[in-house]
Amino acid sequence: MIVADRKSLEEILAMVEDNTKILILGCKGCVTVCNVGGLKEVEILAASLKIARKKAGTPLDIDIKVLERQCDTEYVAALSESVNDYEAVISMACGVGPQFLSEMYKRQVFYPGVNTTFFGGATRHGVWEERCAGCGTCGIHLFGGLCPIARCAKSLLHGPCGGSSKGVCEVNPDTECIWDAIVRKKMEAGQLEDLMGVRGLKDWTTARDGGPRRSIREELVQGNI
């Protein structure tokens, strides 16, 4: 899923400083799963902002809504009748949400309530880790099921660098050296040979290096499926 962290109350309060009526818009997709932008988090943010503004003597009228997803125009369109009832909207979705909203409702202001961080999963309750860099050319199977693009600080493809020490990455002591893990896994499986070959250059044009990406599924576009 896409993982995000909520912005600080201070930052969000500054965004809506001049507003008196806003909408906080949650999303039932990834940000609900990573507990940052679902109904519960939207309610907590609304209560917190109301408390802060009442304390400041400038009460803020807040409505809340949670869309099925903010990354599909059909769900974003559900706001069409009410979106302009507000002076501003705080989107609690990933970075896709405020953009789909801004593209559809050009006269409204949409503030991002979260910082979108990475594609990952929960390794335990409350802890999420990056697992995918969205490079567009997946080769996870070549590395024992562990992605060195997303999980190696240098995205190395031919083994660990000199900064790998005792299985830990020099960039961050909390990060395991994924190449250490890949090599250990391959050794345990007796498949170390798989890592010995020299790989050709990786095609980075499918990653961000090729500019903004687009995925077209002709069969869907044509309505065949």
Binding site: S8, L9, E10, I44, A47, S48, I51, K54, K55, P59
Partner: protein
Amino acid sequence: MRLTYSADIKIIQVPCTGRVDILHLLNAIEDGADGVYVAGCLEGECHYIEGNLKARRKVTHVKKILTELGIEPERVEMYNLSSAQGARFAEIANEMADRIRALGPTPVQNHTAA
């Protein structure tokens, strides 16, 4: 027992403090409560195993939010006592009332500035 305790306390009953949510506490503060405390069972004696422990964690989280908002976190508190400790209940009620009285009225004003 007929104990007396501060008349400033409004009691809201819940089946278990595990039912108390962050939003209940925040909404009370938002609606102008000067303070809120949760009186749960003794730790280790929750009929539902860990309802009171969950409540304590929620109270801790609300304290963190209040701190971020510049409001005294002492306005929210967690207490543990058994249903047989009537005297302790009254003591806690008075203790909390005294604490809030010392802090003064809530800075969360429920009226529009003139």
